[in-house]
Amino acid sequence: MDTMAAIRETFFQECEEQLGELEVGLNAMEEGTADSETVNAVFRAVHSIKGGAGAFKLDRLVRFAHTFETTLDLIRSDQLATSPAVMRTMLRSADLLADLVKASRSDHPVDEARVDALIAELKSLSENVKETPPAANASGGEAEGLDFQPVLLTLDDFGESEPQATRYAIKLIPAPDLYRKGNETVRLLRELSRMGDFRVECDARHVPTLDALDPEGAYLEWRVELTTAEDQATIHELFEFVVDDCELEIVHDRGGVVAPPEAGAPAAAAPVAPSVVASDVVSPVAAAPAAPAEPTESAEPIDSIDAAPPVAAGEPDKAKAEAARPEVVVSTPTIRVDLDRVDRLINLVGELVINQAMLSQRVLEAGLARSSSVAAGLGALEQLTREIQEGVMAIRAQPVKPLFQRMSRIVRELTDATGKVVRLRTEGEATEVDRTVIERLADPLTHMIRNAVDHGVERPEVREAAGKPAQGEVKLSAAHRSGRIVIEVSDDGAGINRQRVREIAIKKELIAPDAQLTDGEIDNLLFMPGFSTAQTVSSISGRGVGMDVVKRSIQALGGRITIASRPGHGSIFSMSLPLTLAVLDGMVVKVADQTLVVPLTAIVETLRPKAGDVHGLGVNARVISDRGGFVPLIDVGQELGYRRDSVDPVGSVVLIVETEVSTRCALVVDAIHDQRQVVIKSLEANYRQVPGIAAATILGDGRVALILDIDTFVARTNRSATAQETLLAAVG
């Protein structure tokens, strides 16, 4: 029973992957950037899910997947044009399929009405196709078709428009490659047998004796007599996956040669077959020297294997290129590993890094020369440790693609709900970042996408009035930039209505009515708690979560978020996040005998102040002049309670830091020791959160050092300073 559960779990994991493929493919088709391989990939994805679901008796899933697959098959065979309306149905079906998979996984009920409605919709699509005779469809469908025009049939076929039974003699000589790519003759023959009256003969005379037999060779030849109402293109289609890997002859038994379907057949572009059978040959297809055979039969076809690319009509050039160079995409083998194991490994490597650093320090303390063999060995060890650490971290890194895919569904649902026409464009989906970052990014990103559609993009009529295309665009992009990942959500909407933002902020008493704010400062008001600009609280973005929550979640990830907006042109929210939550680049500083780590990302510059730079301001406060401005000075040691009196900044070192809200502060420390990557250790695990401290780390000497949390640290000092001033004011 346990094994069954495990297999089931694997099935669902694979479903996730297939659903991802499906979504990518459908999006490409919608955008018109798909090639025939994309359509096949989409079809295969649904087919695989159906197959797996059948094995687990998930009837509801099978039923829907089957209907979906049937309609997709029509697209694949170019009988159904990929009009925007059709694609919308397809995407909605993909969403429902994902929901059904999820529901089957957790045994949750599904909205049957929704399933039935979509099944009906899909059926009506496929019935429309069936009602229309192929010829009519060919001309009628083209108007709507984007890339996938129906296969052009030969005039001969058009002549006999009503389907009538025709006899074909089919000769199939598979090459070893056919099996190597996971295709299966038995499956092809089975399909053929469904088309009509079917007789098959196997020619085994080329099978060698056992000692000469190559287990991966192909020795069998098949001869089929088929009487069917289907036209020849349909038969051809059946072989489109294998056509490059076998010798195939389809002969019209009665009327001599049936001309190959024009641009539709890869055969047209394929090299000439070595054995051309007189003029009766329909489409001689070259392949590896045919050594016919039939290796062991596997029960299920392998769907994910990349078959020889079939060809979309209307792209003959590309078709030729593809047929001439059958692409074999070798996918790198992968394994599934329990996340706990990876985390344990990461922890251990963290310890290793610390231990290695400790060892280096001890060796140094022991007074060994740097040139000694021990030191050299340690150097090599350090190198290795670093590499192991990077390697292990890379295991946790994952592309942001699944996250982005989720967003495209959200945009789709929103466009349905709001009546706005919005397209989501994604960039840099392959950008990799730590799994935890991806997981914790989902909610804030969802919220920002919702905001972009709901508040950013205008209604179509408003857009047209402003001279913009009716379809709005929301762009989601990811990129690596200087050791961090930058994710941007931008829209081409109206931009931030600063006047309104200001009014609301005043109304909600977030700012004083006479406050002088720059545009940037007004934009940043959006991040203030309790701020919501939606005039009517919609069910979409008005869920009680404001941008302040988004900002907090981003900060909790060690990231920062900024807004840029141009009225009439849209807004850009950009988030910069660390690639991993396990390590941090920091500056190791000394403060009153304690060692602290300051995150490098917060530090703008370091300096040694001269006597004239520091000015007193009021009783306790001091500022330092920096680049023409004045920045408040904070004595870190005093603030953290390490010493009672503040030190003289002159002669100390000052770190100019910038917080998330772009306020600058000057931190006074005693000395800078080092700049290095540190492994982040939680303080909360065994203790609790400490204000002003983000986490702890373990230094080379084995001692714990605290990592400053610049934002809360500065905010805290400001607060205590205000309290002090109020107190002073009350006293004075």
Binding site: N347, G350, E351, I354, Q594, T595, E639, L640, G641, Y642, K681, S682, L683, A685, N686, Y687, R688, V690, P691, G692, I693, A696, I698, G702, R703, V704, A705, L706
Partner: protein
């Protein structure tokens, strides 16, 4: 918590240790290890009895000066002190004591209720008294140490 001591019959083992001249003990089941003193990194904004944090094989371990916690004068740090690493709930903390003196096997009958002379504050940690060979040993309930610590933080 008092109930757990009384309710669980049968012999149980306790680790006894010294703080100044007084002796205390804790249930051996909550003790993870005993290790020598290491200098701790001071934590800002922490109660006085939290000495700081140390590195215990890669995890960050807070050190509670038990003397300070019980209201004695703060013990001077010395290399002769001992850290008893204990598990309290999901957390692991280190208790700084002067020395570990004994391992005691006793039944619940050996435990007497804390006399009324003690202040409520002390009573919140010391849940009973043991009398063995003329020594008096206070039984410390660890949940008390942590619960009040959270209060102190607020």
């Amino acid at each position: 918590m008092k109930d757990t001591i009384v309710a669980a019959g049968g012999p149980r083992e306790f680790i006894a240790f010294r703080i100044g001249v007084q002796e205390f003990c804790i249930d051996i089941m909550s003790v993870r290890e005993i290790r020598g003193w290491t200098p701790a990194t001071t934590l800002p904004h922490a109660p006085a009895y939290v000495r700081g944090v140390i590195n215990l094989r890669g995890s960050v371990l807070p050190i509670v000066d038990l003397a300070e916690r019980l209201g004695f004068a703060q013990t001077d740090e010395s290399a002769r002190q001992v850290i008893i690493v204990v598990q309290v709930g999901a957390q692991i903390i280190g208790l700084l004591v002067d020395a570990v003196s004994d391992i005691l096997t006793l039944t619940t009958e050996n435990i007497q209720p804390t006399p009324d002379v003690a202040s409520d504050f002390v009573k919140s940690f010391v849940r009973g008294i043991l009398a063995i060979d003329g020594r008096m040993i206070g039984v410390i309930e660890l949940d008390g140490v942590m619960a009040s610590e959270t209060e102190a933080a607020a």
